[in-house]
């Protein structure tokens, strides 16, 4: 990229592109949050596991971003998309931009319970999505989904085990896990909302609408929660809207950090 192309990306957005970016950006942003754990996990084996999940999701995100760039048709690539879009052109679930280990500028951080819970809930969702995406009319997407499905199964299992260890461990870990559930739950509703992007995807055979994932996800989460002694909170009217490009106050800071070097060195080669 030369200095002339080092400018903010304005997407030519279509429902199809937005659908793919929802998946790509969710993986990218969650991988970014997970990488904050490097060197800080409670035990060395989990440092490796968290980095492993970050690598898997980053790999999926790269494949999806590369594919999105091809769909978008302006000659973009994975890095132009990751480093040169502004917040309102990201379409990740708001859940994954929430502070994880590190506090936000004006919000507290979370603990290991928040992390394994978010990993479990997200992996369960991605697993359901990837399973359905294997039959996408888009062969590239289907191929990415097939590979991602294996990884999602592993992430789901690994983190389900931790949710149970912590939910049914000590009094303190149970308390922390219950608090993590309270913090996370409102953001799960967005995982199953339905809009024109979902409708177009389902209708055209691109992939499942988010609603279509709810039953399987709910069943698996309920099972693990029961084994962990956790209660499913009631649904509320709260709806996060990151998948529409309208985010929480946290994404701006995350992108400022993630994108800083490309902005400091427009036209740089790495």
């Amino acid at each position: 990229m030369d200095a002339a192309t080092a400018t903010a990306v304005q997407l030519r957005l279509t429902p199809e592109l937005q659908y793919v970016l929802r998946l790509a950006d969710t993986g990218l942003v969650h991988a970014q949050r997970l990488s904050e754990w490097c060197g800080h996990a409670p035990v060395l084996e989990e440092d490796i596991a968290l980095t492993n999940m970050a690598l898997d999701l980053l790999g999926q995100a790269r494949a999806l971003l590369t594919h999105a760039a091809a769909l978008e048709g302006q000659g973009l690539d994975e890095d132009r998309l990751a480093y040169w879009r502004e917040h309102d052109q990201f379409f990740n679930l708001t859940l994954v931009e929430q502070p994880l280990r590190k506090p936000g500028a004006h919000a507290p951080g979370g603990d290991f319970a928040d992390t394994v819970l978010r990993n479990f809930v997200l992996a369960s969702w991605l697993k359901a999505a990837c399973a359905a995406l294997q039959t996408s009319r888009d062969e590239t997407l289907a191929g990415i989904a097939a590979k991602s499905l294996k990884e999602a199964r592993y992430h789901q299992q690994h983190n389900a085990d931790w949710v149970q260890r912590l939910g049914d461990g000590t009094e303190e870990s149970a308390r922390r896990m219950a608090a993590a559930v309270q913090r996370l739950w409102p953001y799960t509703a967005e995982m199953f909302e339905h809009d024109a992007v979902d409708e177009a995807a389902r209708t055209s055979g691109l992939g499942p609408a988010r609603q279509d994932l709810r039953a399987a996800w709910q069943a698996e989460v309920a099972e693990v929660f029961a084994a962990a002694g956790l209660t499913l909170p009631p649904d509320t009217p709260f709806r996060s809207t990151g998948t529409q490009g309208r985010h929480s106050e946290h994404l701006g800071y995350l992108l400022a950090e993630m994108q800083v070097l490309q902005r400091q060195h427009p036209g740089g080669r790495w």
Partner: protein
């Protein structure tokens, strides 16, 4: 005494010692300290690199760095496992690290101030580490030697990736990127030379270490090898090593180089380097913030065992 004589003879001939073999107390103690401190170095060494992972400038570089950090954690695992065969638990070793009793490689007490530091760490720091470690692949203590084989292979890969990252910036990058690389080299060169330890004349334990196959080349010999290799690599990159006295000496067949600031070395080893307190605090905090997690895992495992036992009784 007879055991010890046989031991020394076996090792002297290049023989290997496994965990189940007899070994002198002093050998056990020395290896335990060296292997555990090597493990600590891998773990602490994750931190200066973790400092740039959220800001990696491309997704490919982020992937490479995450994988490198993951490898280093894995190296820590192998080494703690190797050290545990000598009779101490990982928790005890970590306790020694957190209390300040056990050391880790002092190079990690320097800050990573720019993205180029990541590439320079790959080139110079991993390069020096490999030079220190290759001889250890034939160390008399077999679990350590085997771990070193795996680690050296992965670290060679890391070194090549770091060097490649610098090469791209120097050959294809902007002037600002080239200046960033040169600045990183200026800051990491002398500390990398210090990774080989004090001059031979001031080093302790060398004779015994040599006999036990822990140390086959002296500090100064390894340092000279490193300088010679780096001069060639620096020329390939187009960077200047920050030593005006660096010069080929045809008589010696090696490069002469300038004096190392040993006052800085001892100051940093002694706890007063730029990041000593922060590195240790990060590890101690991770440990302390993880107490409730580890306790929960134990409690859960106990509950599962009790449930399994109860089920067996019922059946």
């Amino acid at each position: 005494a007879a055991l010890e004589t046989r031991f020394e003879a076996h090792v002297g001939e290049g023989g290997f010692i496994e965990a189940k073999d007899w070994m002198p107390a002093h050998y056990r103690k020395t290896l335990l300290r060296q292997i555990s401190q090597h493990a600590h170095s891998e773990i602490v060494g994750m931190l200066p690199e973790a400092n740039w992972v959220t800001r990696a400038p491309t997704l490919k570089r982020k992937t490479i760095l995450l994988a490198k950090i993951q490898d280093e954690a894995g190296h820590g695992l192998y080494l703690y496992a190797a050290a545990e065969t000598l009779g101490q638990s990982r928790d005890q070793m970590l306790q020694a690290l957190h209390s300040g009793q056990a050391k880790y490689s002092s190079i990690f007490n320097y800050p990573t101030l720019s993205w180029a530091d990541v590439g320079v760490i790959g080139w110079l720091v991993d390069g020096a580490a490999i030079m220190n470690q290759v001889p250890l692949t034939r160390c008399s203590y077999a679990p350590y030697a085997r771990a070193m084989v795996r680690i050296c292979r992965e670290e060679s890969f890391h070194q090549r990736q770091g060097f490649d990252s610098l090469r791209v910036m120097m050959e294809e990058g902007t002037e600002a990127q080239r200046a960033m690389v040169q600045d990183a080299v200026n800051r990491w060169w002398w500390p990398s030379l210090m990774m080989f330890g004090p001059p031979d004349g001031e080093s302790t334990h060398s004779a015994q270490s040599a006999r036990w196959g822990i140390k086959r080349l002296s500090n100064d010999e390894l340092r000279q090898k490193f300088v010679d290799a780096c001069v060639e690599q620096a020329a390939v990159l187009g960077v200047t090593l920050p030593d005006p006295q660096l010069k080929w000496n045809a008589e010696r067949g090696h490069h002469d180089f300038g004096p190392i600031d040993w006052a800085e070395f001892w100051r940093v080893v002694g706890g007063h380097g730029p990041c000593n307190r922060e590195r240790l605090a990060a590890r101690v905090n991770a440990w302390e913030e993880g107490v409730w997690v580890r306790e929960a895992a134990l409690a859960h495992a106990r509950k599962q065992a009790e449930r399994a036992a109860a089920q067996e009784q019922a059946a």
